[in-house]
Amino acid sequence: MFMRKDAMAAISHQWPAEGLTRVPYWLYSDSDIYEEEQARIFRGPTWSFLCLEAELPGPNSYRRSSLGAMPVVVTRDKDGTLHGFENRCAHRGSLLVLNESGEARDIICVYHNWSYDLAGNLTGVAFRKGLAGKGGMPPHCRPEDHGPRKLRLETLSGLVFGTLSAAAPPLEQYLGAEIASRIRRVMRAPVKLLGGYSQTLPSNWKLYMENVKDTYHASLLHTFFTTFRLNRLSQKGGIVVSDSGGHHVSYSFAADSGGKEYEQAGMRAAQEGFGLEAPQLLEAVDEFGDGIGLQILSVFPTFVLQQTRNSLAVRRLVPQGLDQTELVWTCFGFTTDDEDMTERRLRQANLIGPAGYISMEDGAAPGFVQRAVTTAPDLLSVVEMGGASVASDDNRVTEAAVRGFWKAYRGLMGM
C-alpha cells in the first residue's frame, strides 16, 4: 500500500554522518522543523536581540519586537527600568500592544480593557467584581497566572536582549568575552538613531543567517565590493567564532594589500574595476582608531551588528513562515557625531540595506537557495571551506562561522 511521506520523513530526519560539513536540505522545507525551532530555539535558552535602548527614549515608553515569530513588548517604566513580555493578553489572548511604539503609563488591552503595568503584570480586570453585584469573576479565579510570559532582559552597551528561558546563561557568558568586547568596540557612545527600514526575504530564516556568517561569499557575490576594492579577501582580516559556535565576528582592515589573486583566479568578480564619478560616497574616517573598516558580528540566533566603514546598523530577523522572513534594519550614529559625521554615515548608507551597493544581493541569494533546494530535500549542502573547523581564524576563505551556526543549532534542536 501507498507509503506516506510523513513516515518517510521521520526516518530521513537524521543528521548526515559527515557532521557539520554537510547540511541536509530538508531543514529548509519541513514545516514541523519550523515549529520545533520556534519552541526549542526562539522560546528556548537563547538570547534574542529586541531593540536598542535608544528606541525607548524616555520613561513610560514601549515598543514592539519579537522572539522568533512570537510577538513581544519591550517597555521602559517610570523609573527607567526595562521590561519585556509576550504581546498576549492573559484573558482571551489578544495582542496587548498594537502600535509599533509609543508612550504609556500602563497598557490596556483593547478587547476587554484588562490593564497591565509596564512590567507586564495584570493590574486590572474590568468588572472583576461584576456590576451591581451581578456577574464578574469568582474570587478563586487567578487570571494573573495566565499573564503574558515575561522575558529576562539584559542590556549590553545599549543593545537590549531577551529570553523566555531560565536556563539561558547570563548574556555576557552566552556571548563570551571576545564577542562582547567586539560589541563594545562599536557601541562606544550613546546612540543617535538615523532611521530604519525592513526587507521581506523569500527564504527560510536560517539561510539568511548562514549568509551573514558566510565570510566566503562577501567578495564573490558582492562585486561592487571587489570592483571598488572596498574589501578584498586579500585584505588583512579574519573571523572570530564563539565557543558555542553560534556567534561570530568577521573583520577586515581598510587598507588593500593590492593582491592580484582575483585576476589570477580569473573569476567573475575580478572584472577590472572602474572608478566612481563621485568617490566621496566612500570617503570614511577611522572612528574606532584600529584601522578596521568592516566588522560584521552575529549573535545566535538572529542578531547582526554591522560596521561598514562609518555606516553602522543593527539587524534582526522575524521568521514569518517556512520560506518567508522579515529583516529589520536600524541605522545609527552617536550623540557625539558632528554634522559631517552624520552626513558621512548617511552617504555610506548607500552601501547597505535593500538598495545597498554591497548588501542588495543578500536579500536575494537566500531565496535562490530556497527555490532550488525545496525539490532536493534528501540531498546535502557542502560546507567545507576551511575544512571542518569551527574555530577563529586569521583569514576569511572559510565557512567556519557557518559550521558554528549548525553546531549551536543541532545542540538546541537535539539533532
Binding site: 538613531l193 538615523l194 532611521g195 530604519g196 527600514y197 525592513s198 526587507q199 521581506t200 526575504l201 523569500p202 557575490l221 562585486t223 561592487f224 570592483t227 572584472q271 572602474f274 566612481l276 564619478e277 563621485a278 560616497l281 522579515e326 541605522c331 552624520t342 548617511l346 552617504r347 548608507a349 548607500n350 540595506g353 535593500p354 538598495a355 551597493y357 542588495m360 544581493e361 536579500g363 536575494a364 531565496g367
Partner: protein, 156 residues
C-alpha cells in the same frame, strides 16, 4: 491654476516614469539638474524626522554611478517596474520652478511573470527649468511602507 505648468510637471513625471519602466536607466540621471538631489526614504523616517535614506544622492554624478553599478556590478533577477503616477499637486510656484507633491504606485514584474504591488508613496519634488528643460532639482521618494520585498535595485 497654471495649466501650462501643471501639464509641464505632469509631462516630466510621465517621461521620468516611462524611462525607468522602459529600462532606459542611462537616461535617468538627466531628469535631474547637475547638482540634483535624490533620496528614497520611508514615511516613518520622514515623519519622525530621521534622515536615513535607502538611496541618497546629491549629484547627477552619483546617479550615474548607481546606474553603472546596477549595470555592471550588482546581481539581481531580471525585473521591470510599471509606475502609475497621479497628477501632481503644485504646492508652490516659484520663479524658476515649482514644488510638486505626487502620489504613485509601482508594480514590479519579475522575469517569471510574477506581478506584485511593489511600492506606493509620494514624490516631493522641486522642479526647475534648466535652460528651458524641466528637471528635478530635488526628488524625495517617500514610501508609504517601511518594507521592501527582497531588494530595491531599479530606482523608483
Amino acid at each position: 491654476m497654471n495649466i501650462e505648468l501643471q501639464l509641464k510637471v505632469q509631462d516630466l513625471n510621465v517621461r521620468y516614469a516611462q524611462a525607468i519602466d522602459d529600462n532606459q536607466l542611462e537616461a535617468w540621471p538627466d531628469f535631474f539638474t547637475e547638482d540634483g538631489r535624490y533620496r528614497v526614504t520611508t514615511a516613518e523616517n520622514f515623519e519622525r524626522g530621521l534622515p536615513l535614506g535607502m538611496i541618497y544622492a546629491t549629484s547627477r554624478a552619483m546617479l550615474r554611478d548607481r546606474v553603472r553599478s546596477l549595470r555592471d556590478a550588482n546581481v539581481y533577477e531580471a525585473q521591470r517596474y510599471r509606475h502609475i503616477v497621479a497628477p501632481p499637486l503644485l504646492t508652490a510656484d516659484e520663479g524658476r520652478g515649482a514644488r510638486a507633491r505626487t502620489g504613485f504606485l509601482v508594480a514590479r514584474i519579475m522575469h517569471t511573470g510574477e506581478t506584485t504591488l511593489f511600492a506606493s508613496g509620494r514624490y516631493e519634488d522641486h522642479v526647475v527649468l534648466d535652460d528651458g528643460v524641466a528637471r528635478f532639482a530635488e526628488k524625495v521618494v517617500i514610501l508609504d511602507s517601511r518594507l521592501i520585498d527582497t531588494l530595491l535595485a531599479i530606482p523608483l
